[in-house]
């Protein structure tokens, strides 16, 4: 009986390892949402910002350019609607066109956050996007999803599955 239980446990453990390995290999195609905000678009930094992503091994899988209206911006940032900075954020995000992208690659969410640097540009590490391209805490050049759950929601907010390239 003990032997049987032991074998069952071994099978179960083996199975778990296989499942985990698949999850890990699935991560090589992790996706995150990136937005180049109105101040960085206006300063013509689109190419330079995209080049940072590509040099870090992230691939662009979708891109579009649009000017958000007030309702779209409020919906996108709905989770912040009680925060004191919300009205300023919405006003800024609707002030001009933005570039919205899906970035794809190993650890895309975390890698993008590292490249962006701290939300407050005065605290962002040297060589990060915000240290180099942000003007202030509000006009901070880029947005990036903060978790893979947010990434999924944010990508679906802007792109149909058919609009995302297979890289």
């Amino acid at each position: 009986m003990k032997l049987l239980l032991f074998s069952a446990l071994c099978v179960l453990l083996t199975y778990n390892t296989v499942v985990q390995a698949q999850t890990v290999s699935g991560k090589t195609k992790e996706q995150t949402l990136s937005i180049i905000k109105p101040n960085a678009v206006a300063a013509n930094h689109i190419g330079e910002i995209i080049a940072r992503f590509e040099k870090a091994g992230l691939k662009i899988a979708a891109i579009k350019m649009l000017t958000l209206d007030k309702k779209e911006a409020q919906d996108f940032y709905a989770e912040h609607n009680e925060r004191p900075f919300f009205p300023d954020l919405i006003e800024f995000m609707t002030s001009g066109p933005i570039v919205v992208m899906v970035l794809q690659g190993d650890q895309a969410v975390a890698k993008n956050r590292e490249l962006m640097g701290a939300t407050d540009p005065s605290k962002a590490a040297k060589g990060t996007l915000r240290a180099d391209f942000a003007e202030s805490l509000t006009k901070n050049a880029v947005h990036g999803s903060d978790s893979s759950q947010s990434a999924e929601r944010e990508i679906a907010f802007f792109f149909k599955t058919s609009g995302i390239a297979n890289r």
């Binding site: 013509n44 995209i50 940072r52 992503f53 579009k64 350019m65 297979n166």
Partner: protein, 143 residues
């Protein structure tokens, strides 16, 4: 000079080598503004339709097969003299003849896989822009 628009395509070879940012920077540094962008993996029909003017040319079949090997990034560029400026930045169609510092000299490998497309006349620019973008997909760049 009033604002002029032209169509630019970053072709599958340059996308595959992750040169999107590098190429878009060249446009922006030259004072061209990006006013529309999309990434598509063209179907054979879309590629043939886009290059319909070249239908009778010997290179047509190879061009279409190349253009559907992977996704492309299509942009509308806007600015004074945008059409000619884009052509200057791209360099000669054959990368071997392209001047140093042009996109084709720096990013293209052959006359077939030559990294970028740019409209060759204002008339074609209008046709090509309309082929890929609805008017509401092009933003108004006031700054």
């Amino acid at each position: 000079m009033s604002k002029e628009r032209t169509l630019s395509i970053i072709k599958p070879d340059a996308i595959g080598k992750n040169h999107i940012g590098g190429i878009l920077s060249r446009f922006e540094e030259a004072g061209l503004k990006i006013v529309a962008a999309k990434m598509i993996h063209l179907s054979k029909d879309q590629a043939e339709g886009f290059y319909a003017v070249h239908k009778e040319r010997p290179f047509f079949k190879d061009l279409v097969s190349f253009m559907i090997t992977g996704p492309v990034l299509i942009t509308v560029l806007e600015g004074a003299n945008a059409l000619q400026k884009n052509r200057d930045i791209m360099g000669a169609t054959d990368p071997k003849k392209a001047a140093p510092g042009t996109i084709r000299a720096d990013f293209a490998q052959s006359i077939d896989e030559n990294a970028v497309h740019g409209s060759d006349s204002l008339e074609n620019a209008n046709i090509e822009i309309a082929y890929f973008f609805k008017p509401n997909e092009i933003v108004n760049r006031t700054r």
